[in-house]
């Protein structure tokens, strides 16, 4: 119980401490968007015969005719009251757009992460057990190869191979086959929603749709995960308690699986947090290639069009997620290793 209380205190402290950073992110993004040389009013007032009058009208509607400090104060007030403005690109409130698209991005990133872990952990373990061997070098080479291909290239190649040539993957256009019936919107995570309504065919369809983009993302994060697993397992394997365990005659398998691995996974957990945050911010390109209706491609379109509100909303959302992921890792760490809370 004391452990949980202490974790709770820690989390609270960390959360309060992260508020200035969030404010910094908001203000910085706000100013950065205003520095962009593109004027959203000029860009969107592009109807036939649109003139200066239309541009001015759009600017007034967007509130861009006011001085920047006033715009900032209004924006901060909006955030405090739960509004993030309206996207001109989609014509919808940013909050609604993000809420609709966040599950898509989370589902993709999480599946990518799970796939990556499923590969990286075994690879890291076998590499750590035989350091310096051809297996070790092979694993390292393989993982590094994944980082070397830009995600937009590996994505396009996967589409070409599995959709165009072999025809086994479904068409790479979003989360669900366009002719399939979508599940009721319960959690927004399609796969979970399909499970909740017991539609296994739908689940399979959603999973098939997810597979290629998730692989693309997994390839990219394989290396840091495998590398960390290997390094941390090697450190643990060299420590005293493993020697003790071995010396009292435990089977090597048991030593590795039960004692070494459990301790080695803690540093991996930290990396997982970092990797997951990066994936959320960096899946912009993957979403673009796979027409994935996530927040990354949303922000990208908005950025190209100098559409301020969606980009600001996206950055804020990612920053908040970053804080939440760190807190989660903290809590998991606290549960796994009670010593942390003493610090």
């Amino acid at each position: 119980m004391a452990v949980f209380r202490s974790i709770g205190r820690r989390v609270g402290r960390r959360f309060v401490a992260s508020l200035p950073a969030l404010l910094g992110v908001v203000v910085f993004t706000f100013l950065l968007m205003r520095v962009l040389p593109g004027d959203p009013a000029a860009f969107f007032a592009s109807g036939p015969n649109a003139g200066q009058e239309e541009i001015d009208e759009l600017r007034r509607q967007l509130g861009l005719d006011r001085p920047i400090p006033e715009q900032l104060v209004r924006y901060l007030y909006d955030i405090a009251t739960g509004h993030l403005g309206r996207s001109i690109t989609t014509g919808q409130p940013v909050v609604r757009d993000l809420a609709e698209r966040l599950p898509a991005s989370l589902e993709l990133s999480l599946c990518g992460l799970v796939l990556a872990l499923a590969l990286a952990l075994p690879l890291g373990i076998i590499a750590a057990l035989r350091p310096g061997s051809p297996i070790d070098h092979g694993v390292r080479f393989l993982c590094t190869l994944g980082v070397c291909v830009p995600t937009f290239v590996s994505g396009l190649l996967l589409i070409y191979a599995f959709y165009v040539l072999l025809g086994i993957a479904p068409d790479p256009t979003g989360r669900l086959d366009i002719f399939a019936a979508a599940p009721p919107d319960i959690t927004g995570f399609l796969m979970i929603d399909f499970v909740l309504v017991g539609d296994l065919a739908g689940l399979r369809a959603a999973a098939a749709q997810l597979l290629l983009p998730a692989i693309t993302m997994a390839l990219f994060v394989l290396a840091p995960l495998a590398r960390m697993t290997r390094a941390s397992l090697m450190t643990v394997l060299g420590s005293d308690f493993i020697r003790t365990a071995r010396s009292i005659g435990m089977t090597p398998w048991r030593v590795i699986m039960v004692y070494a691995l459990r301790n080695a996974l803690l540093p991996v957990l930290t990396i997982v947090g970092i990797v997951f945050s990066t994936m959320l911010g960096a899946n912009v390109l993957v979403e673009k290639v796979f027409s994935w209706p996530g927040i990354g491609s949303y922000a990208l379109d908005a950025l190209v069009a100098s559409d301020y509100a969606p980009v600001q909303g996206f950055v804020l959302l990612i920053a908040v997620l970053f804080v939440i992921v760190n807190l989660t890792i903290d809590i998991l760490y606290g549960i796994a290793d009670p010593r942390v809370s003493i610090e």
Binding site: G24, V153, G281, V284, A299, V315
Partner: protein, 281 residues
Amino acid sequence: MNATLRHTGWVLRSNPVTTFAAGGALAMVIVAILSPWIAPFDPVASNVPNALQPPSLTHWAGTDQLGRDIFSRLIAAAKLDLAIAASAVGLSFAVGAVIGSFCGYRGGRLDRAVGRIVDVLMAFPLFVLAMALVAALGNRVENIIIATAIINLPFYIRFARAEVNVRRNAGWVEAARAGGDSHMSIVLHFLLPNILPTMAVQISLNLGWAILNAAGLSFLGLGVQAPTPEWGIMVAEGARFISTGQWWLVTFPGLALMLAVLCFNLLGDGLRDILDPRMRT
């Protein structure tokens, strides 16, 4: 020194992957330096009637949409890409290491203030930040370098800070302080050189990443300006031809990009092994 050399030699011998990577990186640097002399064709001269030719004995990697020789462009691009990566990483290392070292050494209010700023940067979706920076500053080579450097900065600051923090009360630092060296001098002359080897690992890994970052920016139209040859642009342009059967447009630049990133990454890994004291025993 001798021991380090011997250790390095041992690592290289026992670690063929690192040797391969070091050789590859070296070869690329040489190609980049010699590029104006070894490219068989002018990398920007168009020849439209000869467009989209598959690889042949004249054009080893085929020709692109404007009939330019892809092989020559690859070689010319090596220079620019390596220069972008090296300057971006060099910049963030120089700034990050100095700031980080001072923070780690002095601690206190300065440290906390910088820590806050680093937190802000870390919480950003970094690729989007780079895009916005390049869009705001204009997509010229120097701005791509600056943007890449800025999004790398927090990692260097944190890393240098942590490394210095561990060492700031070490015996030899105390000795320097007792010997009357100024704080500035201690950081610059003693601490920075001392953490340099550990940071070399980071630098090498980062070089590869910086190349990829520039390529990603190019893919989104925020990269180096045409017709300058650059791997990222070539891959991005070539990607348009994947489904039309002109595979050489994306394959060769893609391989060059991959090879470069691969070499730097493996080299970084190898460096880590060289520096890892446990490997020496």
